[in-house]
């Protein structure tokens, strides 16, 4: 079950795998994710967005950055190996509709979950401007795939080694200043990036959808560990999300909740040197 059919390294830490999962491939829609667990006895359960699916082949594609214990083990699996537990598709699919001009922003590995949304938005008849940002040229992923779908593709890197030397919020701001401004922004990436994208679009009144990747356990609404404050409500990311109105999300609280286990893990690190997935603040969204 859940055999790995193909495996490819996209950049230093980023991997793409195709996994046999016929039911998930059939049911999944853009924006949804899976929970992966590699060892039934002691493994942790981590969420990964479905980057693509092929219902005919019965496979889904996952793109992830190997930064924690589980993602590193996942990266070490080879074609023919299996993922012990794979649950999905989870979460609400992206609301796809024809709104006019859509700006889609992907930071780092956030480009992976963004891609199926870009595809679906395009298919629904929208004009697409895609902004892909990364720290440096080597970490830019899915450039060709995005170019094939987008009406316009803007690449920026922190060090200027590829595209503009800028943060993604700079071209985003430019686009918002245009007349008319975009009808919708979708931002997926590290929490801090999403926060600043939302701050950038707020003064222009451009509705901004963000996709959150909080700590999860079950992914089915049973534990509440994934909860975030959205406006005056508490929402469970795994069942109510993962996408929310970026102007309403309390990112500061979310960032602190993401760091819940960091302190104790740092202390444990000396005795047992490895990083649990749930103890890092994801640098980039996987």
């Amino acid at each position: 079950m859940n055999q790995i059919l193909a495996r490819e390294q996209l950049s230093e830490q980023v991997y793409r795998i195709r996994v046999a999962a016929p039911l998930i491939a059939e049911a999944r829609r853009p924006g949804q994710f899976v929970i992966v667990q590699l060892d039934t006895n002691f493994g942790e359960r981590i969420p990964l967005t479905i980057a693509d699916a092929n219902p005919n082949e019965g496979s889904i594609t996952l793109i992830f950055q190997a930064v924690g214990h589980t993602t590193q083990r996942l990266a070490a699996l080879e074609v023919g190996d299996s993922i012990e537990n794979l649950l999905g598709p989870l979460g609400q699919p992206t609301h796809i509709e024809r709104v006019g001009h859509v700006v889609a922003v992907g930071g780092g590995i956030g480009a992976a979950p963004l891609y199926p949304i870009v595809e679906a938005m395009k298919a629904a008849g929208n004009r697409l401007t895609v902004i892909v940002g990364a720290r440096t040229a080597d970490l830019v992923i899915l450039e060709d795939e995005m170019r094939a779908v987008a009406d316009e593709l803007i690449i920026c890197t922190d060090d200027g080694s590829r595209g503009e030397k800028a943060l993604v919020t700079e071209p985003l701001k430019r686009l918002c200043e245009a007349d008319p401004p975009p009808d919708l922004a979708v931002a997926i990436g590290p929490p801090v990036m999403m926060k600043f994208c939302a701050e950038t679009t707020r003064p222009f009144g451009v509705h901004t959808v963000v996709s959150l990747n909080t700590i999860m356990v079950d992914g089915t609404g049973m534990c509440g560990g994934c909860r975030v404050t959205v406006g005056s409500d508490t929402k469970f990311v795994c069942v109510d999300g993962p996408e929310f109105d970026g102007h309403l999300v309390d990112f500061d609280n979310m960032l602190k909740r993401l760091g819940a286990y960091r302190k104790q893990e740092q202390q444990a690190q000396e005795q047992r040197p490895r990083t649990k997935e749930q103890c890092r603040i994801p640098e980039v969204r996987s």
């Binding site: 493994g43 942790e44 649950l87 356990v217 560990g225 602190k256 286990y261």
Partner: protein, 499 residues
């Protein structure tokens, strides 16, 4: 109750037994026998370990306890049992050392006696009505029916080794059973025995429902639940984990695309309630479900081997007074908390938790703050919990449930410094299946509506357990499963469905 060591209890029972062998006992003599205490781990030592707190009776203890039963003609205890086990019958068999007969009597109506003997709230069921308790004017002096049930069931498990009930010839009918808690386990067994092909679809990577992810090892060893699942597999039940109905496949797909002839929904009450007070999203606030799942199902208590982390508490507040709250509090004790405080709005007598769990929690050093309710949770600049502000209450007039209503005392606000809060105020039902199955009728709390046979508003679809009752008990879930399975068996034989 002060702690008495296992060896002492065993010796005392042996001594009593030698004076009683081979003679008829009068009612008066039976009533005079001392109630047999449950042997348990030392309260201090067990703060350090997840292994089961209670050891179970010795044979002598079981027989002495069985001799306390008066074999009442009207057997009021049976009226108190949700599945109406022939209680005097199985107890008499223990007294007579006919243990095979005893378990056979229990199994006529109960599928999970090793589990129910451990987790049933006997003091509100069979033991509440017991004549002995009534005569001694103390319900806690009733015959210890639950401990006796556990004794015979454990004995039978140890002797059985891998047998499984017989299965009728294949009927060619296929049934999907959603969830794998006690309701689903019962349905799967009863349907498979009839010769139907049964597939369990479970969202988690490990089957067993709340008995695996919620109730801790120290109260219900997971190996017992695993054995029940293994028995189902040996009977030919297929168990598919990582299958979330409503997402992986909709209920309608199971009927239309996958061609199941019937469906049973036993998805439980797995949606944690929060109070909706300020500070509930601070770092250090967890639902009991999350805390318990991390510890039990994800084995986070095994820090060496488990990948899943669990918050390291120092001073803990637990909101609530039910079994879930006791389990959360006692788990925190075992994970090294220095002080664990249960915050409960009413008093000890109103606590819904099993009395034995409250006693055990107290023995383990859990502190109870009765007539106290949290008003808000306080945090520091890093959004970490630093305390809770509480209000004191007093008991007023009885409410609809007959319990005296707690009334807040104005101006009684006070702060208890804590760094961890475990919210254990109950669970609603998970809305995933009802949301994705518009034809399926649910009530305003999200519970699936089912008739007395478990039949839902959809043809060929049945439901039972917590998803119908709201958060209830293992025995009620099992009882509902029994009834639904009987109705499904009738339907698959071609009899018309009810409603």
């Amino acid at each position: 109750m002060s702690y008495v060591a296992r060896e002492t209890l065993a010796r005392q029972a042996d001594e009593i037994l030698t004076t009683l062998e081979n003679r008829e006992l009068s009612k008066k003599e039976r009533m005079a026998l001392p109630q047999q205490e449950m042997p348990a781990q030392d309260p201090v030592a067990r703060r350090e370990t997840m292994s089961e707190v209670t050891f179970g009776y010795t044979e002598a203890q079981a027989r002495v306890e069985a001799m306390r039963c008066l074999q009442c003609k009207n057997a009021p205890c049976i009226e108190g049992c949700p599945v109406r086990i022939d209680i005097p019958g199985f107890i008499k068999a223990i007294e007579d050392r006919r243990y095979d007969h005893s378990i056979e009597i229990i199994r006529r109506t109960s599928l999970l006696p090793s589990i129910c003997g451990r987790v049933c709230p006997q003091e509100n069921q069979c033991q509440e009505r017991c004549t002995v308790g009534k005569a001694l004017k103390d319900p806690f002096q009733s015959v210890s029916i639950g401990r006796l049930e556990r004794y015979v069931a454990d004995r039978a498990r140890e002797e059985a080794e891998g047998g499984s009930p017989e299965v009728n010839a294949e009927t060619g009918k296929r049934v999907a059973v959603i969830g794998s808690g006690p309701a689903s386990i019962t349905v799967a067994a009863d349907l498979r025995r009839e010769g139907h092909a049964v597939t369990i679809l479970e969202a988690f990577h490990r089957p067993g429902g709340v008995m695996i992810y919620g109730i801790p090892e120290f109260r219900l060893p997971k190996s017992i639940v695993d054995e029940e699942i293994e028995t189902l597999k040996r009977m030919g039940v297929e168990v598919k984990t990582n299958f979330l109905v409503g997402r992986t496949r909709t209920l309608q797909d199971l009927l239309d695309k996958d061609g199941y002839d019937a469906i049973f929904i036993g998805t439980g009450a797995g949606l944690p309630k929060f109070l909706g007070i300020d500070g509930e999203n601070l770092v250090g606030v967890f639902s009991a479900n999350e805390y318990l799942t991390r510890s039990n199902m994800m084995k986070a208590y095994d820090r060496e081997r488990a990948d899943t982390p669990i918050f390291q508490p120092k001073v803990v507040a637990v909101f609530g007074g039910g079994n879930v709250a006791m389990d959360a509090a006692r788990t925190a004790v075992r994970l090294g908390a220095e002080s664990v405080n249960v915050i409960y709005r009413r008093t000890r007598t109103e606590m819904p938790a099993r009395a034995e769990e409250v006693d055990h929690a107290e023995e383990e050093g859990v502190i109870f703050h009765f007539l106290t309710s949290p008003k808000r949770i306080l945090g520091d600049d890093d959004d970490r919990v630093v305390g809770i502000e509480c209000l004191s209450y007093e008991l007023g007039e009885p409410d609809d449930s007959g319990r005296r209503r707690p009334i807040a005392i104005p101006g009684s606000e006070h702060v208890i410094p804590v760094d961890t809060v475990l919210v254990s105020i109950g669970n609603d039902s998970n809305p995933l299946i009802t949301q994705t199955t518009p034809q399926l009728e649910a009530n305003k709390w999200g519970n699936i509506v089912a008739d007395e046979n478990g039949k839902t508003s959809m043809d060929r679809v049945y439901a039972g357990g917590d998803i119908v009752l709201g958060a209830a008990t293992v025995i009620l879930a099992m009882g509902e499963g029994r009834k639904a399975a009987a109705a499904i068996n009738r339907m698959l034989r071609g009899e018309p469905e009810s409603t």
